[in-house]
Symmetry: C2
Subunit: 314 residues, 2 copies
């Protein structure tokens, strides 16, 4: 039996093998992705994001347990906050999640960095495809921050939960624009701490003043939780279920799925072209002579780019 | 006299015109960039970054004043924290900077968003080229956060200052890896607040434990400031000058400038190719039929990408 056969028979070690195969970009990984890609998968993808220290891991933990209790299988992708340069991973409170691993149908994968932000979200997308194809009911994707990776991951997810804490008050002021665009549900976690009531009011005010209370007909909720004590988690999971109904409704609209698929296709193609171009460029010796021309002031990067672009035909 | 002639004669309105021309990507803006690109510019580029609320604007303000007092001309690029989707800019404490505008040879440009993170750092690079060509002695570039834009801007700058505040304690734990890679100088701002001593110790300990105390022979300093009261600014500007000497030493090493120029060239080329590909793809009607194939389960984005990639020759 091949690894793929075992994968389809829900063999966990085959799933791990396939994920590693994809993550390491082994020969033939794109063919593998083509084979396992499943447009009619019933997996529901939930993104959890927010600034460092907002208790996302605990939230993911508790949400996962709720879904497991309801009899759903859960796949978790934790995108570690790693340096784009050193590749060194900070584990943080990832360890707590180990508790989950001993429960029912749950699978946890911590993503190592793949260099730049683009590489990391690309790999996250691909691992999500593997989890969808394997057949997890729920896929939780945890990311840190509000950078490009988070935006990419939000684009990939069906529902995005943005977690904040009273302490992030200062940050909300400045980060809110980006957060607002990706959030389907706001969570004010560690709600027992001072300032949580004010943060909730601030968020609600902000949502109303920007007229973004509704997005595609969805009213953005602000939920208070104390994830560590399990407080507010039921309300949160109920809201996620509400949002799922809302999204499933959107999918019945003509052209909605096409729009999502087109954007996915463009993202994938863009990454591949970029990788190819950089590879060719680094292998092309003529580049060094172009660099010399720039250094000597005989040319400039924009003229050289024009010259190189003429070589490319699409 | 053409705008370019007036630009070279240091006409401020010509500078503004040229920047707008570049920012709006008007016809011929790449040719313009080719013409004004100046490899032997003596401008020194300093990046100031850090989490929201760390007082970066005030730091930029004070550093700029010090340089102005020394008789240098200063150009400032403030990259606003804007939503990548709505393009709405949050002004924050930008207003305070207006004080500067009435002083000597200072020019301030607030960047509007250009869509994605990539577009924003691309535009920042281009505006920096204009300021270099115009002949500012010092160019200060302020960015918010530690996302892809900050990494790109750090790659563009000669010295990068990372500002933190005692309150960002939690964040430091998680963000430090990324920050460490781009920082040449750490600043603990609002040092009169509780916890600043501990943050300084934590940063120093972290630098030593990761063995990254030195980078290319440079010892990463940690400086306490109260920017709003002008405390610590002299120490900071002295350190920036030290780092400048260090960088100028690196430039005398064989191959160092070539390495920088090559990486700049690759970045520029990559962005242009990406833009071209997306444009062609969006104009190509066959894409819709590919999307339909995926939606119907007859194909998948990875097979389609392979098919489209075969059309591209480099």
């Amino acid at each position: 039996m091949t690894v793929l056969d075992r994968f389809y028979k829900k063999d966990r070690s085959a799933l791990s093998r396939i994920i590693s195969f994809i993550e390491n970009r082994e020969d033939g990984y794109l063919e593998l992705l083509s084979r396992i890609y499943n447009i009619s998968s019933n997996s529901y993808k939930i993104g959890i994001t927010g600034p460092p220290g907002s208790g996302k891991s605990t939230l993911v933990d508790k949400i996962a347990i709720r879904y497991l209790e309801k009899g759903f299988s859960v796949g978790i992708i934790a995108v570690d906050p790693t340096s784009p340069f050193t590749g060194g991973a900070l584990l943080g409170d990832r360890i707590r999640m180990q508790d989950l691993a001993s429960r029912g149908e749950v699978f946890i994968r911590s993503m190592a960095t793949r260099g730049s932000g683009g590489g990391l979200s690309e790999a996250t997308r691909e691992v999500a495809i593997a989890l969808e194809s394997y057949g997890f009911d729920i896929i939780l994707i945890e990311t840190v921050g509000v950078g490009q990776v988070e935006l990419d991951v939000a684009g990939l997810c069906d529902s995005t939960v943005v977690a904040l804490v009273p302490e992030s008050g200062d940050s909300v002021q400045t980060l809110k624009a980006g957060l607002m665009e990706i959030a389907n549900i706001f969570v004010v976690n560690k709600a027992d701490r001072e300032g949580s009531g004010r943060l909730v009011s601030e968020l609600r005010l902000m949502l109303e003043s920007r007229g973004q209370k509704q997005k595609e007909g969805w009213i953005l909720p602000v939920i208070k939780t104390e994830a560590i004590n399990g407080v507010g988690i039921d309300t949160l999971t109920d809201k996620i279920i509400d949002h799922r109904k809302h999204v499933e409704n959107l999918y019945t609209q003509s052209g909605y799925r096409e729009k999502r698929v087109k954007s996915e296709l463009i993202t994938i193609l863009d990454r591949k072209i970029r990788a190819r171009v950089l590879k060719e460029l680094l292998e092309d010796n003529s580049v060094d002579s172009y660099v010399k021309q720039i250094v000597n002031g005989e040319s400039d990067p924009y003229s050289i780019t024009e010259k190189l672009m003429r070589k490319i035909t699409i």
